[in-house]
Amino acid sequence: MLTIRLFCAAGMSTSLLVRKMEEAAAAEGTEVDIIAFPVGEMDQHLDGVDVALLGPQVGYMKAQMQKTAAAKGVPCDVIPMADYGMVNGKNVLAFAKKLANK
């Protein structure tokens, strides 16, 4: 089971990506638990999480958010812009898996 949390400005635009990632995971038979939240609430949604991903529009908060995530031992990085824009669930899922295994 891979627990992924996505964070963007309001948690709205990212919810489309969540659906696509769930579809991609189902297609390759990976069990996932993915939810999107506003980045401001990140500290409350890190317990038991394998990987935290940031939307590129809040990429400017990367350093600060990585610190927050690191405090709970959660790897955190910014989703590549093109994959985010094209809502490429498969690529983002692969990105999350790679981060989580680090």
Partner: protein, 467 residues
């Protein structure tokens, strides 16, 4: 150039946006949203634009109740703002936040007058109630042989629009000092074995004593030296100049151009610019609502009152104005681009992005378009991306200024409300028509630029298919 902005200017800018104060303001003000929207619904109900419907509501006899509901929700947003900002500051610092919010509320109430007027008894014994501000009360009392007695009460003048900046300052100061006390561990500690709930009750005691006393001292100094309350000083010297920023075409143009320019660099422009413009927009909106309500109670018909708000000191630039014209179909008003991509583009990439963007575009969300097209860091689309929202906002500003479009009168909707519907609900058919026109225009604004991007992608796709 791009590197310089990305590595030097943006980080400095982001440092400001992510300071504790700005974050506290941005998130703290969110607590007022439910009250504003609920209050606006009451306002709308007892000021229905259709006469038959308005008469029906009046005949039910519920207007006083709706009005009471409105003043107790919408018209207390400054108070809520004080709580929210203080609460958020302490929460972001990791301390028990409600105490900080409660202290902020007390500080805000200390800053505003503790009387609602004065009963002035003249020499011949006639009594009149007048004066809601200190200066007028003093003036009235100065009349020969007159006696003035202040009437104490919660002065509603300052609880919404006019008290907004004072409330934010109260929240910031309380949140900041409270967090400092917590960080230095200056608090009353309970011996072990005392239940947590009891101990928590004493946590805020020392900071509350210090912060509230500080506010009382400030109140005393203002009263003793200038015969005014601190909120009047803040309103005159801080809030009024700030509101002036939004009250000019130049100010609005700068705000609206900054949003797409920040997005071009991949930064969520609306969030960043909003941290500055939202306090102004909310204060302006509450003031417009007060003016509108006053005009209506003076017997001005609704359809005239909405145009007279400006002449009575109201504002064009409000929260509702932003929600209606700033980012309809998403930042940069990308609906025109999305329609081109979905129905006219030949390259596979643009077609795909268009399909993804259409559904969320209706609800003013366009991240797939911004990052998928992409618009971010793409110099080929920056011109229409900045131009389209400027056309929308400058046009709406001028249309309001010349008296074609009504002023916003307090009603607002969540920013995800589809355009045309949002204009109709917040302002009227004039705004809905302008939104529709802007959306159509956006197609033609993006068209030449989008065509060239499409041709370029098509050539690239052809190359890779042939290879």
């Amino acid at each position: 150039m791009g590197d310089f902005i990305q590595n030097t200017i943006l980080p400095a800018f982001m440092k400001f946006v992510n300071t504790r104060g700005v974050r506290a303001i941005k998130d703290g003000m969110m607590f007022t949203m439910p009250l504003i929207i609920v209050g606006a619904v009451y306002l709308l109900l007892f000021q229905l634009p259709i006469e038959a419907a308005a008469n029906f509501i009046t005949s039910l006899g519920i207007v006083p109740f709706l009005s009471h509901g409105y003043t107790s929700t919408f018209q207390i947003i400054a108070m809520v703002c004080a709580v929210g900002v203080g609460y958020t500051w302490a929460k972001n610092e990791g301390w028990e936040p409600l105490s900080a919010g409660v202290i902020s509320l007390a500080v805000f109430l200390i800053l505003i007058p503790d009387y609602i007027g004065a009963v002035v008894t003249t020499a011949d014994g006639a009594a009149t109630i007048s004066a809601v501000d200190t200066a007028t009360a003093a003036e009235a009392a100065a009349v020969d042989g007159a006696m003035a007695t202040t009437v104490s009460g919660l002065n509603k003048t300052w609880l919404a629009g006019q008290g907004m900046i004072g409330a934010i300052l109260a929240g910031l100061a309380s949140g900041c000092v409270y967090s400092m006390f917590m960080a230095k561990d200056i608090r009353i500690k309970m011996p072990e074995g005392v239940p947590d709930g009891v101990a928590a009750a004493f946590t805020g005691l020392i900071p509350a004593a210090v912060i509230c006393t500080g506010a009382v001292v400030v109140f005393g100094i203002c009263e003793a030296i200038g015969g005014v309350t601190p909120i009047e000083v803040i309103y005159r010297f801080v809030q009024t100049p700030l509101q002036g920023l939004g009250d000019s075409l130049v100010g609005v143009t700068i705000f609206e151009a900054l949003i797409p320019i920040l997005w071009f660099f991949g930064v969520h422009g609306a969030t960043v610019v909003g941290s500055v413009t939202q306090p102004i927009g909310l204060a302006n909106q509450a003031e417009n609502a007060e003016i509108f309500n006053k005009l209506i109670s003076q017997g001005v018909p609704r359809d005239q009152a909405v145009f007279q708000i400006g002449a009575e000191g109201g504002h064009i630039f409000t929260e509702a104005f932003c929600n209606c014209f700033q980012a309809i179909s998403g930042s940069g008003i990308t609906l025109g681009l999305v329609i081109f991509m979905t129905f006219f583009a030949k390259s596979a990439q643009l077609k795909q992005v268009g399909k993804l963007g259409l559904g969320c575009g209706i609800f003013n969300i366009n991240e797939p378009v911004l990052f998928g097209t992409p618009i971010v860091l793409n110099p080929k689309l920056i011109v229409p991306f900045v131009a389209a929202p400027l056309v929308s906002n400058i046009g709406a500003y001028i249309l309001t200024d010349i008296g074609f479009m009504p002023y916003t009168m307090g009603v607002t909707v969540p920013w995800t409300t589809p355009p045309v519907l949002s204009g109709l609900l917040c302002i009227g058919w004039q705004a809905a028509a302008w939104q529709l026109l802007t959306l159509v225009a956006s197609f033609f604004i993006y068209l030449p630029f989008a065509r060239s991007v499409d041709a370029e992608y098509l050539a690239l796709e052809g190359d890779s298919a042939a290879a």
